[in-house]
C-alpha cells in the first residue's frame, strides 16, 4: 500500500457557476435521494422547508437591464467548520475524508450548529417527517429518515461514497475518479456540479479547483470550505473572482 492511498480521500465539490442554468434538477434529485420530507406550502411559509441544496437566484443590474444569476448552495463541508465546535454532544464532527458528518443518533437538537453556520445550510426537523400514502414505498433504504428534533444537512451523499468504496474494496482496487457521484452532480444537466477527491491530484475536481475563476463563499470567516466555486464569466463585463465572492 502506498502512502498516497493511506492518505485517504478528501471529498469536495467544484461548482461552476458559469454553467448553472438554475434548473433545480439538483434540488429535486437531492430531495428524492436523501428522504427529505416534502416542502408543503405551510412549511415554506413558516420558514421550515428543508432543502439540502438550494439554487439561489439573484438579480444583477437594474431593470430592464437586469440579469438573473444562479448559485447552488449546499453544506460547504468546511475544514474549519464553525458548526462543529459548538455542538455539545459531538453530533457533528469532521471525519478523515474531509466530510462534515452529522450523527443523527447523537443529536439532541440544540440548533447551535445552525446558528454557527454562516451559509445557513443546516436544517431542523420541527415536526416528525410525513409522506403522503402515494409515496409510501419511495424512501431510499440507504438513508436514515430523520425524526423530529434533530438537525440534518447535506452529507455529500455519504451512503454513495460508502457503497462505492465497499464495492471497490471487494474488487480489490482503488476508487476511480468519477466513480462516486452525488445525487445532485448526477442530475446536473450542464455539469455545473462536480464531485470528487481533492487529494487525488489527477482528479477532475483537483484540476478544476485551480482555475483562475475560483473562489470560496464568505472567505472572511476563514472556514476553508471543501466546495469551490468558479466565477460567472460575463461577456459584457469582466467579473473578477473577488467581486463574485462578495456576493456570497
Amino acid at each position: 500500500m502506498t502512502t498516497a492511498s493511506l492518505k485517504g480521500p478528501n471529498w469536495g465539490m467544484v461548482v461552476d457557476v458559469d454553467k448553472c442554468i438554475g434548473c433545480m434538477a439538483c434540488v429535486i434529485a437531492c430531495q428524492a435521494e436523501n428522504n427529505v420530507p416534502l416542502n408543503t406550502q405551510d412549511r415554506v411559509e413558516r420558514g421550515r422547508a428543508i432543502s439540502w441544496i438550494r439554487v439561489e437566484r439573484y438579480w444583477e443590474g437594474d431593470f430592464p437591464d437586469s440579469k438573473a444569476r444562479f448559485i447552488p448552495i449546499m453544506c460547504q463541508h468546511c475544514a474549519n467548520a464553525p458548526c462543529e465546535p459548538v455542538c455539545p454532544v459531538f453530533a457533528t464532527y469532521h471525519n478523515s475524508e474531509g466530510l462534515n458528518i452529522q450523527v443523527y443518533n447523537r443529536c439532541v437538537g440544540t440548533r447551535y450548529c445552525a446558528n454557527g453556520c454562516p451559509y445557513i445550510v443546516r436544517f431542523f426537523n420541527y415536526w416528525e417527517p410525513v409522506w403522503p400514502e402515494s409515496l409510501r414505498n419511495h424512501l431510499n433504504p440507504d438513508v436514515t429518515v430523520r425524526s423530529r428534533g434533530i438537525m440534518e444537512k447535506c452529507t455529500f451523499c455519504v451512503h454513495r461514497i460508502r457503497r462505492e468504496s465497499r464495492k471497490a474494496r471487494s474488487e480489490g482496487r482503488v476508487l476511480l475518479d468519477g466513480e462516486v457521484q452525488t445525487a445532485c452532480s448526477t442530475a446536473c444537466p450542464t455539469s455545473a456540479l462536480n464531485f470528487g477527491n481533492f487529494n487525488d491530484p489527477n482528479s477532475k475536481v483537483s484540476k478544476m479547483k485551480d482555475d483562475q475563476r475560483h473562489y470560496t463563499l464568505l472567505d472572511q470567516f476563514a472556514t476553508e470550505p471543501n466546495v469551490i466555486y468558479l466565477a460567472k464569466v460575463d461577456t459584457d463585463r469582466k467579473v473578477g473572482a473577488g467581486e463574485a465572492a462578495s456576493h456570497g
Binding site: N80, P85, D219, Q220, F221, A222
Partner: protein
C-alpha cells in the same frame, strides 16, 4: 455576637485607634512637611530633571529624524497611554469618599489628586502623535474609525481636546479639594507658601456654606472627571491604537483600558503613598489600614483586568474568523509575543499571587512591591498593544483585515530616552508638588480623626465610624 466585622487595620498589638491627634497639631505638622527639602530629595529631583530634559530633547530629535515614518512611533504611543493610565486613573481614588463614604480613603485623596499635574507630560507626548496620525480620508478612502461621517481630522482634534479637558478637570478636582489646605498654609506657613496660600484659599474660613460648596464641587468634578476619563480612554485608545490596524474590531478595548487605567492609578497611588510615608515620616497619619483597603481594591482591579482581557481574547480565539486570527497574530502571537507574556505575568499573575495574601495586603512594603510590579506590567502591556498597532504600514490601513503581520519593532535610543524622560518628568512633577502643598490633605486627615472613634464594646475594643449623609 460575632459577625463579619473586619478589623480596621491597626498593627497587631495596638488596640483601637491611636490617641486622637488634635486638629491643630495635624495642620501644623502636615504644613511643616512642605518646607525645605532633604539632600536626598534634591539629588533625586536633579537626576529626574536631567533625565526629563534628555527625554524632551530626544523627542525633538526623533521628530526631526523620523517624522516621516509613523511606524517608528509606537513606543511614544505606548508611553502616552501608559501615562494616561497612571495619571488619569489615580485621581479616581480621590473621589471615593464622596461616593462610598469610606473613611480610610480620606488621608489618601490629596496624593491621588496630585497625579493630575503629571498629566501635563501626557499632553506633551501626544503632540507628535497627533501630527503623525493619518487623516480619516487617505487616498480617497475613509478608514475604519469611530468617526463615521465626521469631518477629516476629527480624531486629531477631539482626542487632543479630550486629553486637555481631562487635565483641567483633574486640576479643578485637585484645587476644589485643596482650598481648605491653602487656608491651613495661610495660617501655619511662612514666606511664599503663605502668600500663595492666602491667594488660593480665596477667603476660606470654613463656614457652613463654604463646606457645602466644597463638597458639591468635589462631587461634581469627581463625576465629571470619571465620565471624561472613560471618554478619553475611549478616544485615545481607539484613535491611536485600534483604528490603525485594519480589521481589528474590539468593542471591549476602551473599557479594558479604563479598567487598566484604574488599576495603574491605584498602583501609582500605593507607590507614591509608600514613598511619602517612608521619606516624609508620615507614619502617624498614613495607617496600614489605607494600604490594606487599597490592596483589596488593587486585587479586585487586577482580577478585573484579566477578566476584561480574557473576554476579548476568547471571542477572537474561539471565533477564528479571518479578522480574529489576524488580530491575535498581531497582538498576542506575533511581533510582541514575549512582551505580551512578560506583561501578562507582571500585570496579573505575579501581583495576583502577591496580593492574594492578607498578610501582604496588610503590610506597607508588600503592597508597594505589588503595586510596582503592576506599574511595570501596565507599561509592558501598553507596549505590546501600541507598538505593533503603530507598526502597521499606513498603506494597509484600508484592507479588510491584516494580511501581513509586521515584524517586531525594537526601541531605538530615542525611544528609551523618551520613555525614561517622560516617566521621570511625571515623577518629578509629583515630587515638586509635595513642596507646594501638604501631601496629605489636612482637612481630610482631621475629618478622618473626627469620624472614627475608638470605643469599648462588650469585652473588646471596637471603632465607631460615623457615616454622615
Amino acid at each position: 455576637m460575632a459577625s463579619e466585622v473586619v478589623a480596621t487595620g491597626q498593627v497587631a498589638g495596638h488596640h483601637a485607634l491611636p490617641a486622637q491627634i488634635d486638629a491643630d497639631v495635624v495642620a501644623r505638622e502636615l504644613v511643616a512637611t512642605t518646607m525645605g527639602a532633604s539632600r536626598r530629595f534634591k539629588a533625586i529631583a536633579w537626576t529626574l530633571g536631567i533625565l526629563s530634559i534628555a527625554g524632551i530633547v530626544a523627542l525633538v530629535l526623533k521628530w526631526i529624524d523620523q517624522s516621516d515614518d509613523s511606524t517608528r512611533w509606537g513606543y511614544v504611543a505606548a508611553l502616552v497611554t501608559f501615562l494616561l493610565s497612571v495619571t488619569g486613573g489615580a485621581p479616581m481614588v480621590a473621589m471615593a469618599p464622596v461616593f462610598a463614604k469610606a473613611n480610610w480613603v480620606r488621608p489618601v485623596t490629596r496624593i491621588a489628586a496630585m497625579f493630575s499635574f503629571a498629566g501635563v507630560v501626557t499632553v506633551i507626548m501626544l503632540i507628535p502623535l497627533v501630527a503623525l496620525l493619518p487623516p480619516l480620508v487617505t487616498e480617497g478612502a475613509r478608514r475604519r474609525t469611530i468617526w463615521f461621517e465626521a469631518p477629516d481630522y476629527s480624531p486629531h482634534f477631539w482626542s487632543t481636546l479630550g486629553l486637555v479637558l481631562l487635565l483641567f478637570t483633574g486640576l479643578a478636582l485637585f484645587y476644589s479639594a485643596a482650598i481648605p489646605d491653602f487656608a491651613s498654609m495661610r495660617d501655619h506657613s511662612t514666606g511664599w507658601r503663605q502668600r500663595w496660600g492666602k491667594k488660593l484659599a480665596r477667603g476660606w474660613v470654613g463656614t457652613n456654606a463654604q463646606w457645602r460648596t466644597l463638597r458639591m464641587r468635589i462631587g461634581m468634578f469627581g463625576t465629571f472627571y470619571f465620565l471624561i476619563l472613560v471618554f478619553v480612554n475611549f478616544l485615545i485608545t481607539t484613535d491611536f491604537g485600534q483604528s490603525l490596524v485594519p480589521g481589528w474590531r474590539d468593542a471591549i478595548f476602551p473599557m479594558y483600558h479604563t479598567i487598566s487605567s484604574l488599576q495603574a492609578g491605584v498602583a501609582g497611588v500605593v507607590v507614591a503613598l509608600w514613598a511619602a510615608r517612608r521619606y516624609m515620616h508620615l507614619e502617624k497619619y498614613v495607617h496600614v489600614d489605607a494600604f490594606w483597603s487599597l490592596g483589596r481594591l488593587l486585587f479586585a482591579l487586577t482580577l478585573l483586568w484579566v477578566y476584561f482581557f480574557y473576554s476579548s481574547f476568547i471571542v477572537f480565539w474561539w471565533g477564528r474568523s479571518a479578522t480574529d486570527i489576524a488580530t491575535l497574530d498581531l497582538l498576542i502571537k506575533g511581533p510582541m509575543m514575549y512582551v505580551f507574556i512578560a506583561g501578562m505575568l507582571l500585570i496579573w499573575f505575579v501581583p495576583w499571587w502577591i496580593l492574594i495574601w492578607n498578610k501582604v495586603r496588610r503590610s506597607v512594603n508588600g503592597m508597594a512591591i505589588g503595586a510596582a510590579v503592576i506599574l511595570v506590567g501596565v507599561l509592558l502591556d501598553r507596549i505590546r498593544i501600541f507598538v505593533p498597532a503603530w507598526s502597521v504600514p499606513s498603506d494597509q490601513i484600508h484592507e479588510r483585515w491584516l494580511t501581513k503581520i509586521p515584524g517586531t519593532v525594537y526601541p531605538d535610543l530615542f525611544d528609551i530616552l523618551i520613555m525614561a524622560g517622560g516617566i521621570s518628568l511625571a515623577v518629578l512633577i509629583i515630587m515638586l508638588m509635595t513642596r507646594v502643598i501638604p501631601v496629605l490633605s489636612v482637612w481630610q486627615v482631621q475629618e478622618f480623626n473626627l469620624l472614627a472613634k475608638p470605643i469599648k464594646y462588650m469585652r473588646g475594643h471596637a471603632t465607631l465610624i460615623a457615616k454622615p449623609d
